[in-house]
Amino acid sequence: MIPAAFEYYRPTDMAGVIALLQEHGDDARVIAGGHSLIPMMKLRMADVPHLIDLQGIEGLSGITVTDGVVRIGAMTTQHEVIVSDALAAAAPIMKEAALQIADPQVRYMGTVGGNVANGDPGNDMPGLMQCLNAQFHLTGPDGDRAVDARDFYEAAYMTEREDEEVLTAITFAAPTGGYAYEKQKRKIGDYATAAAAVQISKEGGKVAAASIAMTNLSDTPVWSEAAADALVGTACDEAAVKAAVTAMLGDIDPTEDNRGPVAFKRHAAGIVLGRAILRAWSRA
């Protein structure tokens, strides 16, 4: 658990970060809270000769809600997500999910930006961001661009972000209706055996719109449009929930690990989603 030697940088502006990334290419990584990257370095599973700390850059953290748009700076910690009144009012699913991430010590350090940028299929925020249809804002040598969370993830640890780019912020429209983040895990601090993020809005006793994303059930988060479609227009009754679960099961592709065999994970995914839908509907 001793990392290999690395150079440590703490630039004070984004231009400095980009310059270092351009100089060192994939030999360099930026570090936010470090709660994914540092363990990987200690296990010598990640070889990072040049480590660029983002803590010296101003303006990368904080939560704002303006005209119905939520903006979360990449360096915002999970703890800050939990205690933000503005966020709790605009997107309460964020708090419900963040409270189920790791443990308090990790949440004081771990950041939203690191969580979504790392591309770890076990992380909770990527699926949640897909559910919320968030945009990820990237800064690189050619300027700024935004990528939809739903288009960002290619495979485990592989994302749309280029090596010279830094994820600086996340924005999404404040959701309407009911919400739920349901997660089954073996213990505090564990990744999900299965987790579901659900937003549902209701009109006239029927589901007007829905968004559903699943976590740790594939090598990327799974936004299941088919599952959401199965709910829209229904009264969210037993048959509709069952249809949504069936549709979701068509989109996930879990693998066996110490959390259990595929059959169990698929069963748990269905249960978790069913519960999330019912809770979201009850709040819609």
Binding site: I2, A4, A5, R186, G189, Y191
Partner: protein, 808 residues
């Protein structure tokens, strides 16, 4: 002289036995001021790190250290070839086998030590490990003990004679080249006869999975060889520092008086720190070679992968009874997976520990136990993880067999236990497999436990829940887990308990200072048990000085009297008895001094709390403080000056703590998630020294029991790769996963122990594991479950429900 305070106040001031005195250790532990082995920093100290095998079974074709040696800061890279001239490339194990210190020609488990890098700092050492080039030739891997006994693959080539024959092992004949020993107890023929002719027989096979004690502090050592005066000092995570000193002397040839072994603060042991590890040996050799201190501290993954595991017992049972439930016989066979070397930490004559306590708390007329030890490509070890030697396995076995028999008889499992308990008047009771239980009152404890939880009410609620489930009203089922355990601790009588020939007595030495305070040293070593608190309480009551005025020291072999260390709940039964006996020697001399000072005959004074008083004249007394001062400063005819005593205590018997546990659990059959609604634990550890420390021990032991029962395992894949090498996958519960525990007690003192105490540190683990497991299994009993193996993690519970058709 008039006494200013009441007798009641004097008793309270003593803080002796029975007082919930706060732990004196906690001031430093809670402020981060403990002094652990990794806190030791010596001038010029070097750091060691291991090159470990990625393969579970492979021949080592070559080791190239050139690139590592070229790295600035690297001082040495040791391989088996370097240790061979010192005859230290192999070392004896506590179980009578031998094990490689560094890979000698082949590796036998993943994580095995191959080379030891010594460098100027810990980071350079880790970098150099990556630069050592080892060429391996992979061999067929065996992780299944049953396959191992059938396989042509020879795991231990050193244990096969040149003509291909298989020499005897340390415990007698071996049946196969991968077989270690057969160990038997009881009467096989009589047992088979009873079972063959019984009215009812229940049989079951169960696997008690491999797990690991996982103390918060990993293992480590600092060796410092002073070449000028020829003295070796060794600090380390040792549960038995004196044994380490003797073994180090025998291995190295350094005379024992030139070796000082120190166990500083130890961050949990649970059996993991009983054995001797290659890291200790390599740090010693490296210090001898380099002439400067060398530190080795393993990381978490190394601790989980390579240091002593626990359990890994495949148990097959048969239990017979009359139609009305009176047990008539018990047969148990164990296939014990010991890994690559037999490094179990048991008393030498007991290769399966005290597994022969497997008749449990029941009056079983005839029984047989057979254990076959087997080599596989897994890490060596086999320690008693928070239990006396293999007692957790034994208690799990019998408490599962009782449940299975209850199913066979269609009988309530609590009632089945009750009608088979050894009765109070049968103690001392000699069990069918040989042990003599010292004392017990099982019926009283059981009735108290069942009443406390409203057992009948729970069964009624469970029956209703079953109906509700079947009617589709709920997806949660309910289990009532029962266990009644009898521990066997306090190893042990020298006549049958030794480790490598060293008798398992223990010791205490007391020195009273002139002003009436004291220092006492013992042969044990606390790893969190709170010895500095509780041993001072025993002495306070025995010698009449406040516990606050008594310092307890352990762990430094230059100052502490010889003892066999702390494990198997032996400290209070053995060293605690030595403390009481040494205290009584102090008191005997104090009585003579008091009589002299009071100008009466020795027999005319009597001890009273903190003083000796003249019989019939309580206003005439001398306090122990006054007596201590006089002992040093007053010429007393016929008495030497000073007030000191030492006692070496060889216990006449083991002690047999017992307890009654009940767990109420709700299980979500769809997710497999268990919720512990209630856990009630009644413990009888004999005389209670510090109720608060006991309660803490019980909370800790139950939590480790919960861990093992509900998910904690060391799992291997078919290639011998460890699948659970980090705390992400190895289940270590946090406060979040732990339920509220209700503790209770009865007191049945040990008749042969000086203060009647029996030991408690491991009881909750021993009784807790079957209780949690039985709760899971009991929940599924109404739906047709008979037995499922632990660990009961979410997916396995779900699998049970699935197999029983509960998802259809």
């Amino acid at each position: 002289m008039k006494d200013e305070i009441t007798r009641e106040d004097r008793v309270a001031n003593l803080k002796g036995m029975g007082c919930s005195r706060k732990r004196v250790e906690d001031a430093r532990f809670t402020q981060g001021k403990g002094n652990y082995v990794d806190d030791i920093k010596l001038p010029g100290m070097l750091h060691g790190d291991f090159v470990r095998s990625p393969y579970a079974h492979a021949r080592v074709k070559s080791i190239n250290i050139d690139a590592a040696m070229a790295l600035p800061g690297v001082v040495a890279v040791l391989t088996a070839k370097d240790l061979e001239p010192l005859n230290l490339h192999w070392m004896p194990t506590l179980a009578g086998d031998k094990q490689m210190v560094l890979a000698d020609g082949k590796v036998l488990f993943q994580g095995q030590e191959v080379a030891f890098v010594v460098a100027s700092d810990r980071y350079v050492a880790a970098d150099a490990v990556e630069l050592v080039e080892v060429e391996y030739e992979e061999l067929e891997v065996i992780v299944d003990p049953f396959k191992s006994l059938q396989s042509d693959v020879v795991l231990r080539e050193d244990l096969v004679a040149e003509d291909g024959s298989i020499p005897n092992g340390a415990h007698g004949p071996r049946k196969h080249h991968n077989h270690i020993f057969t160990w038997e107890a009881g009467d096989l023929e009589a047992t088979e006869q009873v079972i063959d002719n019984a009215e009812v027989v229940a049989t079951e096979e169960m696997y008690y999975h491999r797990t690991h004690p996982c103390p918060l502090e990993t293992c480590g050592s600092v060796a410092s060889m002073d070449k000028v005066n020829g003295k070796l000092t060794l600090w380390g995570t040792f549960q038995a520092p004196h044994v380490v000193r003797t073994v180090a002397s025998l291995l190295s040839g350094i005379e024992e008086h030139n070796i000082r072994v120190v166990s500083p603060d130890i961050g949990g042991g649970f059996g993991n720190k009983v054995g001797v590890y290659p890291g200790y040996v390599c740090s010693i050799v490296a210090s001898i070679v380099t002439g400067v201190p060398v530190k080795w501290v393993e990381d978490r993954m190394e601790n989980l992968m390579s240091t002593a595991f626990a359990r890994d017992y495949w148990m097959k049972g048969k239990i017979s009874a009359t139609k009305d439930g009176k047990i008539t016989g018990l047969h148990c066979h164990v296939t014990a997976d010991h890994g690559a070397f037999d490094a179990c930490a048991d008393p030498t004559k007991f290769p399966a520990g005290f597994m022969n306590i497997c008749t449990g708390s029941y009056d079983i007329p005839v029984a047989y136990l057979g254990v076959d030890g087997v080599y596989t490509n897994k890490a060596p070890g086999g320690v008693s993880y928070r239990c006396s030697f293999r007692v957790t396995e034994a208690v799990y076995f019998i408490e599962r067999m009782i449940e299975v028999l209850a199913i066979e008889l269609n009988m309530d499992a609590a009632e089945l236990r009750r009608i088979n308990f050894i009765k109070k008047e049968q103690f001392p009771y000699t069990a069918a497999l040989g042990w003599e239980y010292d004392s017990g009152d099982y019926h009283t404890a059981w009735d108290k436990a069942l009443e406390a939880v409203d057992y009948k009410g729970l069964r009624a609620e469970q029956a209703q829940r079953v109906e509700d489930f079947k009617a589709g009203k709920t997806r949660k089922i309910m289990g009532v887990g029962l266990s009644f355990f009898t521990e066997i601790v306090g190893a042990g009588p020298v006549k049958n308990c030794d480790i490598l020939g060293m008798g398992m007595f223990d010791s205490c030495e007391i020195r009273i200072h002139p002003t009436g305070s004291a220092v006492a040293r013992l042969g044990t070593i606390s790893q969190g048990q709170g010895h500095a608190t509780t041993f001072a309480q025993i002495l306070a009551t025995e010698i009449g000085l406040s516990a606050e005025s008594i310092t307890i020291e352990e762990g430094d072999t230059d100052t502490a009297p010889y003892g066999l260390g702390t494990y198997g709940s032996r400290s209070t039964p053995v060293a605690g008895a030595a403390a009481a006996m040494a205290g009584r020697k102090i008191r005997a001399k104090a009585q003579m001094i008091a009589a002299y000072l009071l100008e009466v005959h020795d027999n005319d004074v009597e001890f009273d709390v903190d003083r000796f008083v003249v019989k019939g004249a309580p206003e005439r007394f001398k306090t122990m403080k006054e007596i201590a001062y006089a002992a040093y400063n007053q010429a007393i005819p016929g008495l030497e000056p000073g007030l000191e005593a030492v006692s070496y205590y060889d216990p006449p018997n083991m002690t047999y703590p017992f307890g009654a546990y009940v767990c109420v659990m709700d299980i979500d059959v769809d997710t497999g998630v268990p919720e512990i609604r209630r856990f009630y634990a009644l413990d009888d550890c004999g005389t209670r020294i510090n109720p608060m420390v006991i309660e803490g021990q019980i909370h800790g032991g139950l939590t480790e029991a919960l861990a093992v029962a509900l998910g904690q395992e060391i799992a291997y894949d078919d290639m011998g790769n460890v699948k659970t090498g980090t705390l992400m996958d190895f289940f270590l519960p946090t406060a979040w996963e732990v339920p509220n525990y209700e503790t209770d007690f009865t007191v049945t003192p040990s008749p042969h122990h000086p203060i009647g105490a029996k030991g408690v540190g491991e009881s909750p683990h021993v009784g807790g594991v079957p209780c949690f497991s039985n709760a899971v299994q009991d929940a599924f009993r109404p739906f047709g479950n008979r037995h499922t193996n632990m660990p009961h993690d979410h997916w396995r519970i779900w699998q049970t429900a699935n197999n029983l058709g509960m998802h259809d």
